[in-house]
């Protein structure tokens, strides 16, 4: 990835992005779906949350942390 694409990716916004409040409110539901191997279904059922988790660093961190927790990776 070069600087142009990295900058473009950072500046690009997704109108489906639901924001932090809605994404975090449903994060446990989304993570349970992903943890059972249904990532595509999770993204299809909750496109606004998927868009948000891709763009928001802190919420993305929370998603990865919760997923690691429920998958037993943080033992």
């Amino acid at each position: 990835m070069n600087g142009w694409s990295a900058l473009d990716r950072f500046l690009r916004t997704d109108p489906r992005d639901v924001g932090c409040a809605q994404a975090l409110d449903m994060l446990h539901v989304y993570v349970d779906l992903v943890a059972t191997g249904a990532q595509a279904e999770a993204e299809q059922r909750y496109p606004g949350i998927a868009a948000h988790l891709r763009a928001c660093g802190p919420c993305g961190q929370d998603f990865e942390g919760l997923l690691a927790a429920v998958c037993g990776e943080t033992d």
Binding site: N2, D8, G65, A68, T74
Partner: protein, 211 residues
């Protein structure tokens, strides 16, 4: 919601934690142990970036687990069974770790929060120094757009997060702020900046990547 709609393990958690006596005490102890284990794993996972080690890391994990335990037991009536109980409960401890690590950065900033490290931008986005002649104008245009298109608050948030690498959660420390509000402010700033760069021909509005 009725425990009858929950999976058996979640129903057992809810029944035990909303009950009385020894069964509830045992469930609270078990939940605390789970939350401590998750918190320790999460602070370790985030630790390298935050440079937290040793006793401070342990303290942060135990505080996060204690606060999460309080949140879970006080909000258990709001658990709707949309996920496993443990996933719902672990969410609280992840959020506590998030909030506490944000405050840690605020107490130990690596750069002044209001500094403007424009020289950091090429490295931040991976621009090749050998090709500076190609991207110098783009970054100058971005700098102009930041100065001319953003509100003072949007500009301050862009500077803190993008130029100074301040974690978004650290900015939430400020009074009457929250993660959602800061994110929305940055979201609007990103949209404005991209529109300005596209209007001046620096970025193709219909193309996601430029080779």
């Amino acid at each position: 919601m009725s425990a009858a709609r929950l999976d058996p393990e979640s129903a057992e958690w809810v029944q035990a934690l909303t009950g009385n006596g020894l069964r509830r005490d045992a469930a609270v102890t078990r939940l605390h142990e789970l939350l401590v284990r998750i918190a320790r794993g999460e602070v370790r996972r985030r630790g390298p970036r935050l440079q937290i080690t040793g006793p401070e890391l342990e303290d942060l994990a135990y505080q996060a687990a204690a606060d999460a335990l309080l949140a879970v037991t006080s909000k258990i009536g709001k658990f709707r069974g949309e996920s496993r109980f443990t996933t719902w409960a672990c969410k609280f401890v992840i959020f506590e770790v998030s909030a506490k690590t944000g405050r840690h950065f605020w107490r130990n900033p690596s750069v002044p929060m209001d500094a403007e490290n424009w020289d950091r931008l090429p490295d931040r986005f991976g621009f090749d120094p050998a090709l500076e002649a190609e991207w110098r104008d783009l970054l100058a245009a971005l700098h102009r757009a930041v100065d001319e298109e953003l509100t003072p608050r949007q500009r301050a948030i862009f500077v803190a997060i993008v130029l100074n690498d301040v974690p978004l959660d650290t900015l939430v420390i400020e009074p009457s702020s929250n993660r959602n509000a800061i994110y929305k402010m940055l979201f609007d700033a990103r949209r404005k900046l991209r529109a300005a760069l596209a209007a001046n021909g620096y970025i193709d509005p219909d193309k996601s990547r430029r080779s």
